[in-house]
Symmetry: C4
């Protein structure tokens, strides 16, 4: 008998709320120029690192949400350790507006880009780590049933997923040399994460009532 088991639905609702707020707070780093001295258009264009960082972080959070969504779709039940792992994962998600703003500021100032990129890539790597830990824990404790998600599919998924870590680390070096291209690498990584198929099938595939067209 394990205590503290509940259905994943309210944890999903809480995570959805955190994702939605974190992704939307990113816009607060887009600021109206305080003085319009060189023309509004020119001053807005000077903020390009803020727009680029906004778009990259938005896509990254959004794609993390897609992957979180797919993971929770495969859970039939959650326990307290998973909820705590989920909380640490959400902590890293909530932090993202801060490294986003720091990276944009360092790109605009033309100094500290390696620090900015290190903070940004480090936050993303920590987030990826907690996400991978949730998968490992969920599989080990059979919170995802074997018939839905075969173990070897998870191993392949995690192997592909783990590629992100060294790439985030490498962008610190890149940022010393060509700072603005590190943002392009982050964007490419987000799209890479979007393209990894989640292993197994969602829990509603167990029953027949919610099956969609062409599925199964």
């Amino acid at each position: 008998v394990r205590l503290g088991l509940t259905s994943p639905s309210r944890a999903e609702a809480f995570a959805d709320g955190v994702f939605a707020v974190a992704i939307t707070l990113l816009v607060l780093d887009l600021k109206v120029p305080s003085a319009i001295t060189h023309g509004l258009g020119r001053e807005l264009l000077d903020q390009w690192p803020n727009y680029a960082a906004f778009v990259v972080s938005f896509l990254t959070i959004g794609i993390i949400w897609l992957n979180h969504h797919s993971l929770f779709d495969r859970l039939t039940v959650v326990d307290r350790p998973l909820l705590l792992l989920n909380l640490l994962f959400l902590l890293s998600v909530c932090t993202i507006p801060f490294p986003t703003a720091v990276l944009a500021a360092s790109l605009r100032a033309g100094q500290g880009e390696a620090v900015g990129a290190g903070l940004y890539g480090g936050t993303m790597a920590v987030m990826g780590l907690f996400f991978a830990l949730m998968w490992v824990y969920a599989v080990r404790r059979r919170l995802v049933p074997r018939e839905l998600v075969p173990g070897e599919a998870v191993a392949g998924f995690l192997a592909r997923f783990a590629m992100g870590g060294p790439i985030y680390a490498a962008t610190i070096g890149l940022s010393v040399w060509q700072a603005r291209w590190s943002l392009a690498v982050y964007a490419a990584l987000a799209l890479y994460y979007a393209a990894i198929p989640t292993p197994g099938r969602p829990r509603h595939a167990l029953g027949h009532s919610q099956r969609g067209p062409g599925e199964g």
Copy 2:
């Protein structure tokens, strides 16, 4: 067999959260006057462009939400490309507080109105484009069943919907000449979008359990 198909419900929950946060963050551009030198009432009245832009953007986001709600009500299933389109659509929704603040600032400063109107109208036009793309994709991939939404109804809907694009572009010209009236055009466009009936019928009309009075 298509992978990644899930029910629309969690994507709806996430979108609802993003809409709710984006629409509420608009209030952060209404600021308490820092010094009360000419009387509080006078200083508050000087901020009229901020109030007007707040109301127009609120109604626009709210009406987009209504239309998004109607679209998702017609989906029986969602796949990953649709979720990515939805993410790009939400990116444009989340951005709205920024062009709203820029437009209000340019109207108060009495300069840069064309830039402000261009940024505002451009954001809205991009948002409309992604919304239309979701419709087209959902119809082509049969994520909305034919028996719910006939193809020619969608074509008529998109034709009416597409009227928004040139009108948003035209307000840039209007803003050079009479900047404050561009806000009135944006408000009128929001109401126009509210008045276009969504094609077809919601998915619960397939069954009989959730049918409301007078429906069907």
Copy 3:
């Protein structure tokens, strides 16, 4: 045949999100003193109008949420005009952090209190008006079934509810004379609204599955 009828659930989710964000954004008006010159405790105490306004606005939004909750619990279906009324109602809810900050600033500055109280009471009165309009519309269009909510119960409810309007207006006069007590009147009004019982019974009372202990 009426078009655009849907179930109230996604409108509830959107409204819950807006309420949750608006009520939580109130905390952003509680600011850390920028310089600690007279001791932190003293400087924090000087901000009492911000704390008082925070608590009063929080309770008001929270109690409006309770009443909104009760109204939507009685709707079996919603149509597009109700969703638009709901949107205008939520517009007034989202605005509340602004008059809250203005009222607190005027109380701290010791000037402009009548303007601050007028803006605050006016926002609340407009919100009450839209809430009442939703009730009237829902009853007229039979979005709440007669067997759940008798017409005369609604009339009694709206009569009690309408008392708020003149009281909000009267606080403008009070604020000229004794500004800080206007906040106490606003708090009392919030509690008064909490004490008015919602007419009729929730929709799940129609069936028997969700009936709670002691109900009906």
Copy 4:
């Protein structure tokens, strides 16, 4: 006959929203250094109290959410007094970003730490009080059925839970002597709260349909 009984689901949704927004707003106290004079890395490191306070408050709110989740999982029905208690509880949750920012600022300034710790611990103690009151009320009014939650289990839970109060008070004294360690005590308390098992079993354990593997 008791009026105003409804299902807990919409109150849960509202609370989830408030928790999600409050926990995410914490990031707004992490600020980009305004001038990069001593190097970005150095200036970021100087902000360590803000990071520490961010993490501690995030974990605290997250763990409160877990406990709130467990409580509401045991309610079969809610009434208006419980909703009002829940509102006062959420008021204290929403306030947390403010004492978090004050405590971080006092640690950075090296003065006012006892005031900062008092405000922080006081907010947490008030929150714990309202949470305990919800449990007491729910048990007395039988909103949690006896067969799910035995009375003596609740008494043991509340006794362990009440330990937090004096410890929060003691950190005020600690903060005069060794201010930065008070944050470590707050973190330890959050983990302590996470480790107290919620008494009884969730309501879905009454039926058999939602039972997870290994449960019961």
